[in-house]
């Protein structure tokens, strides 16, 4: 399924890959999403999220590095970097433990990509950040706490 998706993406080129996806009937966003992620993004508890990711037994690793502020003034946009020193890193997942939806983002890396990604996430309150790394089918994890002064997940 993944390889088919890649072919479709390649075929899309600059024309707009998503319109091509829709045209060939991979269609409805919700469907495509559920099929690929197995409920990962709907997980409302950390246990559910880790189970959906198959990561309950991920090995803690110092080779997964999270860069984040110790204190975030504004929880609406906290810059986080995750870098992996593990050879053949193929996926990086960022989880925000105290958010209503635990899984923030999942990145599938090509061989060309350096195994590091920087992004910005919301944090509802002071929280642990979990960074999962998949390499050759094995899962590794690092965790880091971020103190949030003003929460940003909006209620």
């Amino acid at each position: 399924m993944d390889s088919r998706r890649r072919d479709v993406l390649k075929a899309g080129g600059a024309v707009g890959v998503w319109s091509v996806l829709a045209a060939v009937g991979i269609a409805a966003p919700a469907q495509a999403r559920d099929a690929r992620n197995g409920g990962v993004f709907e997980a409302a508890t950390l246990d559910d999220a880790l189970r959906a990711l198959g990561a309950q037994d991920a090995a803690e690793s110092a080779a997964v590095r999270i860069a984040a502020p110790d204190v975030a003034e504004d929880g609406r946009a906290v810059t986080i970097s995750v870098a992996s020193d593990i050879p053949r890193t193929e996926q990086i997942v960022i989880l925000i433990e105290e958010n209503p939806y635990k899984v923030a983002a999942s990145f599938r890396l090509s061989g060309a990509m350096a195994p590091a990604i920087q992004t910005r996430v919301k944090m509802a309150r002071t929280t642990r950040v979990h960074a999962l790394v998949k390499a050759e089918g094995r899962l590794f994890v690092a965790r880091r706490e971020v103190t949030v002064t003003v929460g940003g997940c909006g209620t």
Partner: protein
């Protein structure tokens, strides 16, 4: 219609450094407006980045990614004129695709 994704690509020491800022509200469906009504969920679910037609990164987002999502990463190699395409789609079927050339 959403605003364009701002993309920066910089060649440095044989590496292409990419930074991108997508324009999207990233509503998680839990916030209320001034009248106390829930604002419907509206967030990017998938992002694809290609160089010269080859996928270099695919990402799935949940609503915990911040408003106007930002990504930065590097890819090996590169040359002036490389075409970088950043595409996204959201949970309501909205899509956008933007292209730049590496200079």
């Amino acid at each position: 219609m959403s605003a364009p994704t701002r993309i920066r690509a910089t060649l440095r020491d044989g590496v292409t450094e990419l930074r991108m800022l997508m324009s999207h509200p990233m509503e998680n469906g839990l916030r209320k407006d001034a009248e106390g009504k829930l604002i419907p969920a509206h967030f990017i679910t998938e992002v694809g980045v290609q160089r010269n037609g080859e996928i270099v990164l695919e990402a799935d987002f949940g609503p915990s990614v911040s408003t106007n999502p930002y990504l930065a990463f590097s890819i090996a190699g590169g040359a002036p004129g490389d075409e970088i395409v950043v595409s996204w789609r959201d949970n309501l079927g909205g899509t956008r695709s933007d292209t730049i050339r590496v200079t």
